[in-house]
Symmetry: C2
Subunit: 332 residues, 2 copies
């Protein structure tokens, strides 16, 4: 498996994704990166490199030859659709087919054994929507592609990972006032089981310790500040424990993330988006990696967006992509 390269998707060609792939390739030795190839349009990638005056060799190749190419040049595998516009900082719906094809091809590669993992570059949903994209986001699209190639249904769980801390937001992109009704016992149990299973299988944590945060201040203070902890979260934790998952909590979220507290668990699962993302972005900004658990393959991605405002200027920071590639390598 370790000889099979990782597939990196193109992302929105007007964003920072393509230049970060080039910059990450330039650090392959200093960061000891596992072999990877970029699924994109080779002519477009060459143009990005030339615009940035990057001294990086690029080679149009196939998945089969990508690993050998990697030692002398960034392997670019044609995903099947040319980049029509591809002007840094000027997103264009005409480029949506190239963005989407790259993702589809990445999953096909991993399903066929031509890639060992998928690392996705950032996309702009609003641009894709204009071109008819129907999914709420990257993750749901990957879930559908998993179904297409592997059969079965997959519930994807987003984890943010860094050396310091791993967190799972149990609700994500919904208004805060909807969290209480979306936070069901089923959601918590299902999330906990997926996380425990994938930490075991992918991160080789023998007996993963899952710590759950409460929803309310001070985890509800025995019901005085809200009842979700008593009615929903604690019973879900008890159910997980009955199923053999080492789950603990609910704990007050504010005292879960200092160094001594972090030593007591492998991953923190939080009811809200901000409870989970505030501590990891405070501790490890630009080093956090987005990992999708629950899929039949490994998928990681950098924890930032397309950053159209700085695309093509050579100032974007490749750290998160580098960490995403390293983690995908380690997980497979």
């Amino acid at each position: 498996m370790s000889f099979v390269p990782i597939a990196v998707t193109q992302g929105d060609p007007a964003g920072i994704g393509p230049e970060l792939a080039l910059m990450a390739y330039a650090t392959r030795c200093s960061h000891d990166l596992p072999p990877f190839f970029l699924l994109s349009d080779p002519a477009f990638v060459a143009r990005i490199a030339a615009n940035l005056a990057l001294e990086i060799q690029i080679e149009s190749t196939t998945t089969a030859r990508a690993r050998d190419v990697f030692f002398r040049a960034l392997p670019v595998v044609y995903a099947g659709r040319p980049v029509a516009s591809g002007v840094s900082g000027n997103p264009d719906a005409a480029d949506a087919p190239s963005t989407l094809t790259s993702i589809e091809q990445a999953v096909e590669c991993v399903a066929k054994g031509e890639a060992r993992a998928v690392v996705t570059s950032p996309i702009a949903k609003s641009i894709l929507y204009k071109a008819g994209f129907k999914h709420p986001g990257h993750t749901e699209f990957l879930g559908e592609l998993a179904h297409r190639h592997y059969g079965g249904d997959y519930r994807a769980v987003m984890m943010l990972w860094s050396q310091e801390l791993a967190v799972v937001p149990m609700t994500i992109h919904i208004p805060l006032s909807d969290v209480s009704k979306r936070l069901t016992r089923e959601l918590i149990v299902e999330s906990g089981e997926i996380v425990a299973r994938d930490l075991k299988a992918r991160f080789r944590v023998e007996n993963p310790r899952l710590a759950f945060a409460g929803l309310n201040p001070h985890a509800g203070e025995d019901g005085a500040l809200g009842r979700e902890e008593i009615d929903i979260i604690a019973p879900a934790i008890a159910e997980l424990r009955a199923r053999g998952v080492e789950a603990s909590g609910p704990f007050p979220a504010d005292t879960m993330f200092h160094k001594a507290a972090r030593a007591k668990y492998d991953v923190a699962l939080c009811p809200t988006h901000d409870q989970a993302l505030i501590p990891i972005k405070t501790l490890a900004f630009e080093r956090g990696v987005n990992v999708t658990l629950g899929l039949p393959f490994v998928r990681t991605s950098p924890d930032h967006g397309t950053a159209f405002d700085i695309a093509g200027k050579g100032v974007a920071d490749p750290t998160s992509l580098i960490e995403a590639i390293k983690l995908a390598g380690r997980m497979t």
Copy 2:
């Protein structure tokens, strides 16, 4: 003013408050602490010191002599009620009068000019309630005492302060599902004005920069993930700016707290308790200080509770109390 000592309240006598005052006194030279006195029952304080085998001199004295005493012994000023029980780790409602009298006396001292600031030790509300205490907490009680001694009405605003970060939770001890209806434009404007005024007056920040967090993930993403940012928070910020306050936001809470982001403001104001307390406790656990803004005097307190489980064992960490005393000194 710098010759006037700081009044430290006793807190719950069964908690860690009294021993922390002793331990803080022991570090007065290494931490260059301003003179302070403890408002308590001198016989009780001597017993706590003896139980812990602390080699610390204690002297029963008056507020007028406290500053001179401070150089040779911890000045303990009798607050007017003896500690009836005072067994570490065993809170007793019979001790509530001594706890409350200490707070009342502290405010009277500061109102009379006998103390320059009030530092409060932790209390246990559930114990005080059994003894008939009617206030939701410390802060509201201090508001009433301010009214008694200074006239006028005071809206207290809680700020958590550390070297790294200062935060204000705009809602505090309420269920998360109530936050949206409690977060009004008036609340935000009033909080912002009090914070800006007190940072100027007490922290000598000439033109305080206030950064407001959004309530929803990604600050609502232009309304797609909730409308509070558009309907409530942004108009409140505009109103504050019109009144001359350097207010900015609403920003996505998750990207407000890494080092580069923190350099752009003096204080972050957050809609929820956890949005504010997670980052400061992640960055500065045990070094955070609770500061009450909006009162006619300076009040700080350590950012921890009574910790009955470890009281009397000599293992409690005095860092937060030391920081609270230092900050009270600096603010006056």
